[in-house]
């Protein structure tokens, strides 16, 4: 039973910090109704259980499928097949992603139908597919990752010139939102699966990461392209107030459960189909292994449902109420500080963070320590939330004031940072902006916006996820630079040559 205890300990370490911080807040400066606190605690419990089960599922279900897919694709040794499978995989996995549908629905309503929901879903899925294919081809053809990202973000920059600032926020948010809880582990595993085949071990390690970062860039490009078609669009409308002041403890959970079950089912479906299909034609795994993977997929499903139910029903209201009362309380600086702390603890509870940090440890045999990656991510996301709140509170600041210098720094850094860390960093952008950010942090910043005079809940709410997706790029590359400087041999004379 040791193995269960281990995982539980790990998950507790992930979820307890945010729980404790919120409880401290609720007993000191932001008094919450008892029913809300109870609901929050129930949510935390579901999240802990759900996360543990989900991570087991990813370990024995999703990751093996991704690895196998990657190896199978690369072994075909045909460039067009690699590209085609990347395109198809990316397309089908993202078209089923519930987060993408939610985002597309929002865009549809704020642009008054100018950018239709269906149209956006298709174009984003194509974007992910195309860039996933590019990413796989990049690994196979040994193209430098830093240069690839420089090119991609140069394209994004040019496209961004042609869009309105509000729409820009939507596009960058989309990159974080659409790489959901299931897509992320799968794409991460896919990258490793392809690159382990490389004979050159150094290149193999460096190429294990970066695929997810490319998919994220694909989303931004796709959404921006969709926006250019509707160049003079006016962003109007407001988010319907969905504060359900339910007095019941369980009702919100029971309301959420069927919705989330359906969404999780949709999200998992492409993976199941892909697995069954490839098991038939290519993998031909032994019955025992296939059974294990099937079990893994089942765990993934159960875990995801529990986790999302807990996050949506237990954390969302609390997030927005804390944000609202804090801001209404007056001290703006304090709001930013609390935002930083919440950002630091929230990212720990992101499911994909666990998948990424474990993978980093696996691929580097523990050279890059999990704890350090977590610290870098936490600091990055903490400052992201703080900056995003600052933008809401101070009217003059626009999102692009952050994004432009932020991405310029990230891209310039790729030239100095070891390639391994470039890949990890660009992947971590999509990893950090997962379901916890989308529920808790987003609700929190919307609460802050609501209480700020002159801030638009909708427009200022957009952009928070974009920030969470940006800062890890810098934070992890800084970590890479530190590693680069520190990994030197001491005590040897310099006259080696």
């Amino acid at each position: 039973m040791h193995i269960l205890g281990e995982k539980l300990k790990e998950v507790l370490f992930a979820v307890l910090p945010i729980t404790v911080i919120v409880l401290i807040l609720s007993f000191t400066i932001v008094p919450l109704e008892p029913i809300l606190i109870l609901r929050f605690l129930l949510g935390a419990l579901l999240i802990i259980g759900g996360l543990a089960i989900f991570l087991f599922g990813v370990d024995i279900g999703v990751t093996p499928i991704g690895n196998l897919m990657g190896s199978t694709i690369a072994k075909t040794n045909r460039i067009w097949l690699v590209g085609l499978s990347g395109l198809l995989l990316g397309f089908f996995i993202s078209i089923a992603e519930p987060d993408l549908h939610i985002l597309a629905g929002q865009v549809d309503s704020v642009t008054s139908g100018l950018i239709g929901k269906f149209y956006l879903v298709i174009i984003v899925s194509l974007g992910i597919g195309a860039l996933l294919a590019q990413g796989l081809l990049r690994i196979v053809n040994n193209i430098n990752l830093g240069k690839t990202f420089t090119l991609l973000y140069a394209i994004i920059f040019v496209l961004a010139l042609y869009t309105s600032p509000e729409y820009l926020a939507i596009a960058f948010d989309a990159s974080g939102a659409t790489t959901g809880a299931l897509t992320v582990p799968f794409i991460l595993a896919l990258g490793v699966g392809v690159s382990v085949l490389k004979k050159d071990s150094e290149a193999s390690e460096e190429d294990s990461f970066g695929l997810l970062g490319m998919a994220s860039a694909g989303v931004i490009i796709a959404v921006l392209l969709a926006g250019i078609r509707a160049k003079n669009l006016v962003i109007t409308g407001s988010l319907e107030a969905k504060v359900t002041a339910s007095a019941s403890l369980l009702a919100p959970f029971l309301e959420q459960l069927p919705v989330i079950t359906r969404e999780a089912l949709y999200a998992l479906l492409p993976l199941v189909v892909i697995f069954l299909l490839f098991q038939r034609i290519a993998f031909k795994l032994s019955k025992k292994t296939a059974q294990r993977i099937t079990k893994g997929l089942l765990y993934t499903f159960i875990g995801l449902v529990l986790f999302l139910t807990g996050a949506n029903a237990g954390f969302m209201d609390v997030g927005s109420i804390i944000g609202y009362s804090l801001t209404a309380g007056g001290n703006k600086l304090f709001v930013v500080i609390v935002g930083f702390v919440l950002g630091v603890v929230t990212v720990l509870a992101e499911p994909a963070v666990y998948v990424l940090t474990h993978q980093v440890e696996d691929v580097t045999s523990g050279y890059v320590k999990r704890r350090l990656v977590l610290v870098a991510l936490s600091l990055g996301v903490g400052s992201a939330v703080a900056l995003a709140l600052l933008k809401i509170i101070v009217p003059g600041i626009q999102l692009w004031h952050y994004l432009l210098p932020g991405y310029i720094i990230s891209v310039v850094m790729t030239f100095f940072v070891p390639p391994l860390f470039v890949g990890i960093a660009f992947d971590s952008g999509g990893v950090a902006s997962g379901p916890m950010t989308a529920t808790f942090i987003l609700a929190f910043s919307q609460g802050v916006a609501e209480a700020t005079a002159g801030a638009d809940v909708l427009l200022d709410g957009f952009g928070t996820i974009a920030m969470v997706a940006l800062t890890p790029l810098i934070a992890l590359q800084v970590l890479g630079l530190i590693y680069k400087v520190k990994t030197v041999k001491g005590g040897i004379e310099a006259d080696d040559e």
């Binding site: 024995i60 050159d200 005590g491």
Partner: protein, 228 residues
């Protein structure tokens, strides 16, 4: 090649613990006076539990720590590590020692130039026809090791990805030791080929210089699957 002042017999120390403890074992071993450096390989262990087996949770990540050191030190360290990490309890880990025939590494002080140790060869079993040559080098150098070995007549080799800290690598990052990535190359060779293989590797990878890697050789009692 000079024999080191007190050759003693060298031992290869294996400690297999749960993931995350590897670095702690190394730090503790260093505190105990093992100065030879250590290498960590990530592996997967199994669990023996019906329920977990039913659930499909049968893999657990382990870290394998290997260190080469003098016999007396190795036994003492094994004892100490066993006590400190409570290896006598179930589900914690295991530790064991295997004799090493030769051990090469570069030394800091040019005077000593090279430390070489020779085990008691008479003690080796009569039918030991093969040697297992372990070469631990920096990440990316394994190909060169195998190339060098093939030149001297080796039939192939196995590369194991690992991390480790030698005596020259002691930089820290927020109180955490950085353990750079290594590659362990395992070559099985007939006994009469061992010397040429080892000397070619030593030459081409400059093992005799400090910080370039280590080589150790163990006797193999039986070997199958090697073609001639």
């Amino acid at each position: 090649m000079t024999n080191s002042p007190s050759p003693g017999e060298y031992q290869l120390l294996y400690i297999i613990v749960n993931c995350g403890l590897g670095s702690k074992v190394i730090r503790y071993a260093k505190e105990q006076g093992l100065t030879t450096g250590a290498t960590v390989i990530i592996g997967k262990g199994t669990v023996n539990d019906r329920l977990l087996e039913f659930l499909g949770l049968t893999e657990i990540r382990k870290e394998i720590v290997i260190m080469v050191t003098e016999r007396a030190k190795a036994f003492r360290a094994l004892e100490e590590i066993g006590r400190k990490f409570q290896l006598h309890k179930p589900h914690t880990g295991i530790g064991f020692c295997i004799a090493v025939k030769y051990f090469f590494r570069g030394l800091k002080h040019p005077g000593e130039n090279l430390e070489e140790s020779r085990g008691e060869e008479e003690a080796m079993p009569e039918d030991s026809m093969y040697d297992a040559i372990f070469v631990i080098v920096d990440r990316g150098k394994a190909e060169a090791v195998i190339d060098a070995a093939s030149k001297a007549g080796s039939k192939g080799g196995t590369i194991i990805h690992a991390r480790g800290s030698g005596i020259h690598e002691t930089s820290k990052l927020f109180a955490m030791e950085i353990e750079p990535e290594k590659e362990v190359v395992l070559i099985l060779a007939e006994k009469n080929l061992t010397d040429p293989i080892v000397s070619t590797i030593r030459e081409e990878l400059q093992i005799d210089k400090p910080g370039k890697g280590i080589i150790f050789i163990q006797a193999v009692d039986r070997a199958y699957g090697l073609y001639k």
